[in-house]
Symmetry: D2
Subunit: 404 residues, 4 copies
């Protein structure tokens, strides 16, 4: 099932599939279940991705990537998602991927020289510091209370952040702060680049959470107490932080859909192998119709994920408005992938719970997807508002029959 | 949301939408709820469709249609589905549409002259006589027990058919019968053209059923007792009946998906109008989040239906194998449309049950869709078989860790 | 599975089961599918119910019933539900059952002599006239616009009713009207007894609807235009109409749960027989695990319906508050029975849609259950309000950790 | 909602609730999220449980428990489940609870003196060593390959076990081994008591898995290589191992249902507090209808869990067969509790994923419940077999109408 991808996209995805099958999955399988994966393993995988011309495909060549079009890279993300090691290997791993994308979009030459190039090279890592304690889903911009005030030629940042992805390991933090109290909530916020070594930055802890997984995905609680950064550390335009976040998020939502689709696909691959190898009550489990049908349903929903994500990406690539299509793809993908992984886990019984197979990690990892990048509820809200926007006048008219 | 339809397809669908909004829906609304629609009403709608160049778009011009490509007509079907009167109006109504398609595919010049042209014109109607009493879903070809035996230059047909769509009103019946007992079940069957007036044809009754609806959709029980037809009444090739049925069914499954998608879309349109107009417990029902979210979910699934159906149609149009894509589209669409219509009905409360609104008819009509054109179970069986076809060797190998 | 029913209840239910198996179901099966059942058939079944001491068990002996306790009659309702003819046969059929219950609760001796006794005897029938055109679900009392004004020693009723169950066949109508405009919406309404022959009563039509079924379940649109009734036709206390409706509804919701549980149970019985008898793709359908598991899930949910309904009934019988338990039972039962019947229909393929089997009728009949007796949304609203009533203080306190 | 529990049961559960609210939950909240809980904390909680007369209620007084009836203790389990610390605190924690129950059922006086008493006291702990690598769900007895052969007055055990709960911390292991190769798979197995210090016992590792949680729930991989134990270490009757496992499992399945019901109830309590405290888009989240309704649905299903579990327990307490009722309760409870916890997690957004709240741990812990104690598929298999056991003859007969 190849959808309407271009030749370029198909070729890239095929090579990514081979890389996953030949390099990444064997590496993953050789890791002891549940153990963190070492940095040298990731470095080695990246080296091999570079050799195969599969490294940072989405980044401009001048910064060290392959300079490919978003729409053409999209199918590669599904391949990357087949192992938790896939995205780091091909340098399409969150949050660096999104941060690199932001630099490309709005970074100055100096910023890109200092941060983007070494990020692409994998020499440094970055944290995304936006969510705050009172805003569980990061959904409502009115919740943002961290401030940055101008003092001379410096900005002074004060606030308390939660869920700063990769915050405790980052060489640079992208911090969202309110820079204009009087503006509409969606306006008046800005991004700043903050080094964790600057005075006043306190990495309180890594927040314990579901889905820390083998690559040590971490989210830090960070306090910013009179943190001073120079003017040049403003990233993007003043007061346009939410706009920049949106620019970053639109395509990112689709790439995440593909990444989790790959994860769910892999979970089903493992489950199908498991059912084929195992017997129960006198016949191979793969012959038991009920689980077969659940897998058929899961495969069907993942097919729909792939088709809707591509439809949204086509519109974005064509420069069309695709807000509703993205929202629909995201909420549908998040639920379809969680369901598929849950089904796969159930197929493997006790070994589905165990972490010798990758499904246990996937089960923990996928749960965040219905919450981040806009929670289910936020997307349904957007979709519903659109659905009720133009209520059909003739249908309304027809209802007058009930007016009695 | 316009998907990757061609300009031609979009134009046709847009004109169909206007025809539905301006002519068909007002006609539907003017009908007393629950009452059968008269033949003259249908004839009048067809006249207007002809005037608007929307009549029988899928049929070759030489037979009276518009000679358009299957892929380009596809989106029109969704428009047609928005009212139970839409498909008859544009002459894309089952079973005649499928029967006409079969004539086009395999009919002789004489047969097409005698039957296809008047069918397209709407001067005669046809019945599709395949399912038998013991085969509830029409799914298993081994069930077919009706026989046709050669006697001189005639075929003698004996059997008992169930669910012969439009059988009691038909001018000609397309009857599937076994012509070769020794062949594999999928082979050895053939189609015959049988006039209901011939000796031995007994229209036992119209089988009472859920979803008879306002256009009097009927399915007859018919007995064929030594019915004799001349050799020339063989339709298509000898022993190739199932192959012809499949040729007909592939694209037909997709057009039905679109037709029911249109029905579900209309149901949601009515529901949204209803919720907007009505109040309960102090505020418009449209402000109640729970129903809004259910509608958002229904819209999302219908969007996925439209995207997957087009994906399958693209493959068919490109001459590629699309069996799995069609199966997935069909089973997904059947469930998504049933759910959406059920949600819409619930939104309208008691008036959803009532037949002043069209939703009650839709609720009854849609239920067959998970059974006809291959029941859910049949499609899941096909999808599962495909899913288990190439179990990943490396995943199997990785399981040896459990061998103890 | 016998639950904690009393000996009396079990004996009654067992005898009802025998009556259904030996008399009612054979009668049902002998009816041509989809055809209305004649009055003489019902009269004959009632005669046999009387002979077996199974007639109107819930009504006091002085009015012609068996004088049994609500809790003891409860399991009989499930038996009655196994055929659409069961409830009429044992005279536990809506709306007469609820109307008779209302007479027992609040009727005067004269009213009970004039109406209740002949109702119990089956000599007359009654209509329940409460819902209005603007109130789809009959849920919000503020919607009630019909008024009754005192004029001398008569009440003058004006209004427009919708869904007056059995309205076009009734000898007496129970009409709810507002008698006090200044009162709180839940107060200030009263019930009146109105003969359909009185001047000003216009039976506009039977509203066409899903689920009319073989016993011709009908709901009339009725206009009351200056309808005058004597003071003695006030049923129950002045301004207490909603209270009387609630008194009637509490236990009635549970009996309806049991009736629909019986319907769903029967649907599964038919489906299991069908699957056992039919073959597909080389083996009995009953051996196909997927449908077996769906039936197992349906049976499990119906078991939960039976357990929760009894739990609520125990509390009502003990004089305890059971509003939440009733709401939970109702919403759970309505969804579980709709799902079970849908599953049963799917098991029977085309013949599930057909009306030779009873499932098609059940499918149409059950759909109203999620709307009447309080729509799903109304019950969930009640349950949620209760759930949020006493939010745990300690849990709230624990959340201060996020205050930053 | 108090169901039909006895006074004794209600009193016990009420006191357990107070203990949880006043002691266990504050202790849990004081733990750093995601960190393992120390042994001294558990010891302290047990001390307080003893003081409140809530310690080991299910164990006979002679062994150090409270000697209460299974049915009366049942509701306490729900209270215990409200925190992961609850079951250890009241000494109703798996696997010791089940192991203690087995000792009580079949242990000799010597065995009970040596193992049961110190187990009840909390001085030692025990492991349950039954599942094997090839048997993911522990469901099919034919899978058991570990053997015990008699050699003189010793048994020699050889095998490879998987998922030996608490195996790496146990002072004694209950090992199931095949003692009779010729017997029916369900017969011919026996339990043995094995000290982990004996020659030939190799604790390979703790299997990494989803849901290790704060009390360090562990499952070991263990190899038994010519492990010799004296005859006296046979636990229960020879060749009756599976029967003993069943005796243990019947009531245990119900207590686990209650424990997980408590966990789910707590998750909803936390979610309700969270929604009440937090705002989003201008109003408290608790006012958003969609999440309210999902909570209402979750509460309704948990109510059904409580009612069905009690129904099954009543039958067991009355000495009746309750296999189907237990299977239905188990499969329904496992799915209802997983769903409720998933809903609760979603309500709390990012903080639902985080482990400062207990929901994240619950999410991981509950996933095993659909697999252990008989996987969903095993219970559905049992329920379906029972459902198809007595297919109604009259319904079968009625189907002959389709024989044509």
């Amino acid at each position: 099932m190849e959808y309407n991808d271009s030749e370029t996209a198909r070729d890239l995805a095929e090579r990514a599939r081979a890389f996953m099958d030949e390099v990444v999955l064997p590496t993953e399988r050789a890791q002891p279940g549940g153990e963190p994966v070492g940095e040298e393993t990731i470095a080695d995988l990246r080296e091999q991705a570079r050799e195969r011309d599969l490294y940072a495909p989405q980044i401009a060549e001048e910064y060290g990537g392959m300079g490919m079009d978003f729409r053409d890279v999209l199918p590669l993300f599904e391949q990357a998602g087949r192992s938790i090691l896939g995205a780091p290997a091909m340098r399409v791993d969150a949050p660096d991927e999104g941060n690199m994308h932001t630099f490309e979009l709005v970074g100055t030459d100096e910023q890109n020289e200092e941060y983007l190039k070494p990020l692409v090279a994998g020499d440094i890592s970055s944290g995304f510091s936006m969510t705050e304690p009172m805003d569980g889903g990061g959904s409502d911009p009115k919740m943002l209370r961290t401030t940055a005030e101008k003092d001379g030629d410096e900005w002074v940042i004060n606030g308390h952040k939660w869920w700063t992805t990769q915050g405790s390991a980052a060489d640079v933090l992208l911090v969202m702060a309110r820079t204009n109290e009087d503006a509409h909530p969606y306006e008046g916020c800005s991004f700043f680049l903050v080094s964790p070594d600057v005075d006043g930055v306190e990495i309180v802890r890594d927040i314990p959470h579901v889905g820390a997984s083998v690559v040590g995905e971490s989210h830090a609680e960070i306090k910013y107490d009179n943190v001073r950064v120079p003017e040049a550390n403003l990233l993007g335009e003043l007061d346009q932080g939410f706009q920049h976040a949106q620019q970053r998020l639109g395509p990112a939502r689709l790439t995440h859909c593909m990444r989790f689709s790959g994860m769910a696909t892999r979970a089903l691959d493992v489950a199908k192998a498991y059912l084929s190898e195992r017997e129960g009550f006198g016949s191979p489990l793969a012959d038991k119709q009920a689980l077969r049908y659940e897998i058929a349903e899961a495969e069907t929903r993942l097919h729909a994920v792939r088709a809707t994500v591509r439809d949204a990406a086509d519109k974005i690539a064509a420069g069309e408005e695709a807000r509703i299509e993205v929202a629909m793809s995201k909420v549908f993908a998040a639920n379809a992938t969680q369901d598929a992984i849950d089904t796969a886990l159930q197929c493997c019984g006790g070994n589905g719970i165990g972490k010798d197979l990758p499904i246990g990690d996937f089960y923990e990892a996928v749960r965040a997807f219905r919450i981040v990048d806009g929670a289910d509820e936020v997307h349904k809200r957007v979709i519903a508002r659109d659905a009720f926007e133009d209520v059909d006048e003739a249908e309304l008219e027809a209802l007058t029959r009930y007016d009695g």
